[in-house]
Symmetry: none
Subunit: 192 residues, 4 copies
Amino acid sequence: MTAPLEKTRATRAALVESATALFVEKGYGAVSVRDLARRTQMTSGAIYGQFRNKADLLVAAIVEHISLDLEQPSRQGSDFRTAITRQWRTYRSRAGMRALLVEGAAAARVDEEVRSQLNEVLSARIADWKRIYHDIQEQEGIDPDVDMDAVLIMLWATELGLGVLESWDVELPKPGVWGQLADRILASLVGQ
Amino acid sequence: MTAPLEKTRATRAALVESATALFVEKGYGAVSVRDLARRTQMTSGAIYGQFRNKADLLVAAIVEHISLDLEQPSRQGSDFRTAITRQWRTYRSRAGMRALLVEGAAAARVDEEVRSQLNEVLSARIADWKRIYHDIQEQEGIDPDVDMDAVLIMLWATELGLGVLESWDVELPKPGVWGQLADRILASLVGQ
Amino acid sequence: MTAPLEKTRATRAALVESATALFVEKGYGAVSVRDLARRTQMTSGAIYGQFRNKADLLVAAIVEHISLDLEQPSRQGSDFRTAITRQWRTYRSRAGMRALLVEGAAAARVDEEVRSQLNEVLSARIADWKRIYHDIQEQEGIDPDVDMDAVLIMLWATELGLGVLESWDVELPKPGVWGQLADRILASLVGQ
Amino acid sequence: MTAPLEKTRATRAALVESATALFVEKGYGAVSVRDLARRTQMTSGAIYGQFRNKADLLVAAIVEHISLDLEQPSRQGSDFRTAITRQWRTYRSRAGMRALLVEGAAAARVDEEVRSQLNEVLSARIADWKRIYHDIQEQEGIDPDVDMDAVLIMLWATELGLGVLESWDVELPKPGVWGQLADRILASLVGQ
DNA sequence: GATGAATGAGTATTCATTCAT
DNA sequence: TATGAATGAATACTCATTCAT
């Protein structure tokens, strides 16, 4: 009988979902555990049965949405340049995830444990991607002088930086323009 | 007798300096006004004589350091590509400013007034830079198809994104490698 | 198992009692929530678990004591004139309630919510009394020209005004004299 | 050269006037000395040159308005009953003074010095009135059984109590009705 | 596991008053 | 006398977390 475990898992997932929504909407620091309890119709005690910490909730929310929102490139049979260009063109759909990551950044700066947890999760994921990028470099015959690790970091940094700019309501380029810029930059990296 | 004004200005500057250091070190949310008072040997009342808010202190710190740390490109007689490449190569020197901006991002997400103040300051600065970038586009004969506004946002976003990655202790590229990447990307934009 | 509710109710009552005593003794503005916590051996958090506000405590204290201290006239089988005269003769026993009401007046002038809460409570009670006074007017055959609503307000105002004079330590009439005055005035209203 | 003294007197009067307006509007506790300084275009230091205390300002405001607003009865050649009736009929014009006295009551309850100052001022005034009332009793041939001291206190208390009721926004009788009630009561006291 | 009352340290901010200039 | 910067104690209220039931 796995029923109770299932139930637990569903509860947990619902909690993470609500936490994500609240953190994105109001900011991690401005959300209290009681807010979350109210929204999920749980008690704060019940939440602490699932998560050690408020910080753990943030980490879980980030882990969940990193997987969902940022897919690896060249999964859809298209080449690197095309995949990245499409990703830039559709940047607006990931605003929620970026907001979450900005919250995660500020929380990590304050809280050593958040930092190390997020570092672990994100470093692992970055390591995955690095491997994929190297494969791409070989398969697509990209100039070996291009440091694909640096390219990866640049693409991540740009994405995250958009999140920072968004938190200030700075006006960002139109999606088409942003995609074109990616296309041009990527062309220079993958060789015409 | 400008002495009292001078003194006030000096006091204010010292306050902003200490606030910057504390915000960078411990994070905006984790610094209390009393911490700051202790560190500056002032009373909290005196601090509130200079700044309406704790948030105002953060804004002041950011304004101060944006001007100091991010110089306009092509001020040293070098061309655009060279200037940006140098800036990327020396990215490590701006870690403090990036940390401050990450704090500013999280604070802006929570606090409407911080958001609008930072938006005002940063939008103005970005507008300045846009003008400069357009001049560069003409003077250096950069392909008119390149949207220099988007380029500017990309360069800003990358810088800010480094700040986010740094807050997670993610390993960043070596300065030389990072500079080379900039050089390659810029080449594609300015037309070698 | 009504135990926890009972306990809560008892805790609340004890809190209101202590708050009343403190407000009467030191004045609403001069009593801090911490004072109250100390006196009741509770923590301030626990107090805020029972009351949203310091103001709510004042309102609760007033509501409690209005009911206790000001009995409706002609409940003891005596006629209107006798009942009011007795009430005036025993005015000294209600000094605490009057002090509380003076605090409630000053607080209501500053705080919109206190004002509306007290208005609600007191207007309801005054409406009750008005009904009772009209019944009395009929039953005792009081001159229909006498506006019993105005009489009620006058009796209330006199009581409350004593509270104001008491707060200035102004010397008040001896109870007997005060009762005689009531007797004379009431005679003119009820028709000897 | 009395000029400087004149100026001081004028400054003081302006200060008292503004303080009165602010205390009535916002409540004594909610008015800061800086508010008052802003409103009067003075500095807080200058205010402390004229008054030892914020409390002294309240006392001064009350003293000033007691004299202005509550004139002695039978000054206009009319008899006692007529004078009081007129006073009740025009009660609405004295709402500001009553508000001030409610503030004075709450302040006196907290602050021993305010209490004693107000007591001194008000007791003196009440003593004056008592003398006047006794004269009236003789001159108008009022029944010697009527304790005119108690009557005076009753009239004062009613007035003050209206102030308390007003602070709760309780609906008061229409002026005509209120005047009629006074007329009826006074008739019973002065002998038809 | 769940509950939700209790904990109690912690925070930003205010304000009457002082005093060097 | 006037100034207004500085004082610094004081306050209401919040909130992550715990734990007896």
